[in-house]
């Protein structure tokens, strides 16, 4: 089995322990340098399956604001971030929008929806 080591800095707290992670065949076999268990679990997750919440804002038509802020409803694989950003190009929401409304379903094939994080009322025009 190929063995690999990676250096990462723990982000769980301000201490920022420099950690060395040993991977064998894609599995974490050793975590060194951490000073608490949170470091170990962060290291494992970050090396095997790193995920992120992605936030953005998209234009909204007919609303009281020009833009509506959005996010992935839960975290998506880190590797899917560029596709997620691309998928938001050209997306325009329509007012009214409520927090939690799905703006883009199943973004970039991740199975995760892009949802609104702000209410946008319809702008009354006469």
């Amino acid at each position: 089995m190929p063995m690999e080591t990676r250096s990462i800095i723990c982000i769980s707290c301000p201490v920022g322990c420099p950690m060395t992670v040993t991977l064998e065949g894609g599995e974490v076999t050793k975590v060194e340098g951490n000073t608490c268990p949170r470091g170990e679990s962060y290291a494992k997750k970050e090396c095997v399956n790193p995920t992120r919440i992605v936030t953005s804002s998209v234009p909204v038509e007919g609303g009281e604001f020009a833009m509506v802020s959005v996010k992935t409803a839960s975290d998506i694989p880190k590797s899917a971030i560029p596709d997620c950003a691309r998928a938001l190009r050209g997306v325009v929401a329509k007012a009214p929008v409520a927090i939690g409304d799905v703006i883009v379903p199943n973004v970039a094939g991740t199975g995760i929806n892009i949802i609104a994080t702000r209410h946008v009322k319809t702008l009354l025009s006469f």
């Binding site: 723990c10 982000i11 301000p14 920022g16 000073t35 833009m67 802020s69 702000r118």
Partner: protein
């Protein structure tokens, strides 16, 4: 001009601090509250902070800025607390007459029983840090860029250098990258970042954006729009080292070089400010040196997490409500003395009679410290010693001082908070 309105508590600012203060005041039984907000909506700066990471302490879940703001807007609505938008306060007099304007009401003068200062803070501009070079277009504070991108949907630049690794700068480095810009470098004067570790990992490392510690921007070139910036390494006294200059072509320089509490109104009222925090000097009840004028949130001292702003402001609201019904927070106070690495404390003095179970003291340190004892002395008597693995200027620390310590140390003339090896 209409006759003067009488309001029990006037809250200046409808951001996270103002809203939480309003909720605190209302829940303490005050029914005559008015929030004055200069923007077109409540929520303050949270409206443009569309990233996640808010609310872990307060709501035990990770929210974006607008979502966090909405939680409090919902409470303000549910409690039917009145507020006025588009309203700029022009003056607060020492006897608590608040003068404000908006397009609908014209000029308003309100006699308040209590005033809560919740105006927040602003970013340090370029002039405050004196970078040499031209004064062309393309130089923005990170927050201004954030407003353009997140609220207006426009990009202020394509090729970006960020000066300062405060959280807004880091967040904007990622944000502009995701919108198609190239962030060429983040430059930090200090040998450490004032931003969160998580933001360095997830805003810079994830996108291979280089972070240069102990570097600064020494020059800006460009006649009409920024064409390049020069960065250089700095020595221990933070002076650029000749010969280390490096010119980076770019069209934009974002500044994330610190936040300053916005206290012009406080000064108009005659509130005394701390030269260290830039915010009002307050007692344990978050009351300024001016009776009945309270302060909370970033106008008091710049916080790291909005959760603490909400917590502090809720308390300020409760105290203001008590004041409005006749309670006085006067009496003998014991001064707090920040020493040996502790830069300041909020409050700066405590009257034990005014605390219930414990007093909350927030402070920051002046440098990175590893493996130090945080010690609290009542007079000469050390009442607490706690090992801290790390203390950093970017993190606000919170201490709870139990009432019992005051009872056990009667007659003490000062409380010292210090770091010990």
């Amino acid at each position: 001009m209409k006759s003067m309105k009488q309001i029990d508590i006037v809250i200046i600012g409808g951001g996270p601090a103002g809203m939480a203060a309003a909720v605190g005041a209302k829940e303490a039984g005050c029914d005559n509250i008015l929030i004055l907000e200069r923007d077109t909506m409540l929520g303050g700066i949270l409206n443009q902070c569309i990233h996640n990471g808010f609310g872990l302490h307060m709501f035990k879940e990770e929210l974006t800025g607008p979502e966090y703001a909405q939680r409090y807007m919902d409470q303000v609505e549910a409690l039917a607390i009145p507020y006025k938008l588009n309203t700029m306060v022009l003056d607060i007099s020492p006897d608590k007459v608040v003068t404000a304007v908006n397009p609908e009401d014209g000029l308003m003068q309100i006699q308040a029983k209590a005033v809560i200062l919740a105006m927040g803070c602003r970013e340090r501009p370029r002039g405050a840090i004196n970078i040499e070079g031209t004064r062309c277009a393309g130089i923005y504070t990170a927050g201004t860029a954030q407003k353009y991108v997140n609220m207006n949907g426009y990009m202020p630049g394509k090729e970006v250098v960020v000066l300062g690794s405060g959280d807004i700068g880091l967040i904007m480095a990622r944000r502009m990258t995701l919108e198609g810009a190239k962030v060429k470098a983040v430059v930090e004067l200090m040998p450490y970042s004032g931003g969160l570790k998580r933001n360095i990992a997830q805003c810079l490392d994830d996108y291979d954006i280089p972070l240069h510690y102990s570097h600064t921007v020494t020059n800006i070139k460009g006649r009409e729009r920024v064409e390049s910036v020069t960065i250089a390494k700095v020595d221990a006294s933070l002076r650029p080292i000749p010969g280390t200059e490096q010119e980076i072509p770019c069209d934009t320089l974002l500044l994330s070089v610190g936040l300053l509490p916005e206290n012009e109104l406080s000064q108009s009222a005659g509130v005394e400010l701390s030269p260290i925090t830039g915010g009002p000097v307050v007692n344990e009840s978050l009351e300024t040196e001016l009776d009945g004028v309270f302060a909370c949130g970033n106008v008091l001292h710049v916080h790291d997490l909005v959760d603490y702003v909400s917590e502090e402001s809720y308390a300020a609201g409760q105290n203001a409500a008590a004041y409005a019904t006749g309670r006085q927070f006067t009496g003998d106070r014991i001064p707090l003395r920040p020493r040996d690495g502790v830069r300041y404390t909020v409050p700066s003095a405590i009257n034990p009679d005014n605390i219930d179970k414990f007093a909350i003291v927030r402070f920051r340190v002046d440098n990175i410290y590893r493996d130090r004892d945080l010690a609290v002395y009542f007079g000469e008597n050390r009442v607490m010693k706690k090992r801290k693995q790390i203390l950093a200027p970017g993190e606000m620390e919170t201490l709870r001082i139990p009432k019992s310590w005051f009872e056990e140390n009667t007659g003490c003339d000062a409380i010292t908070i210090r770091l010990e090896a």
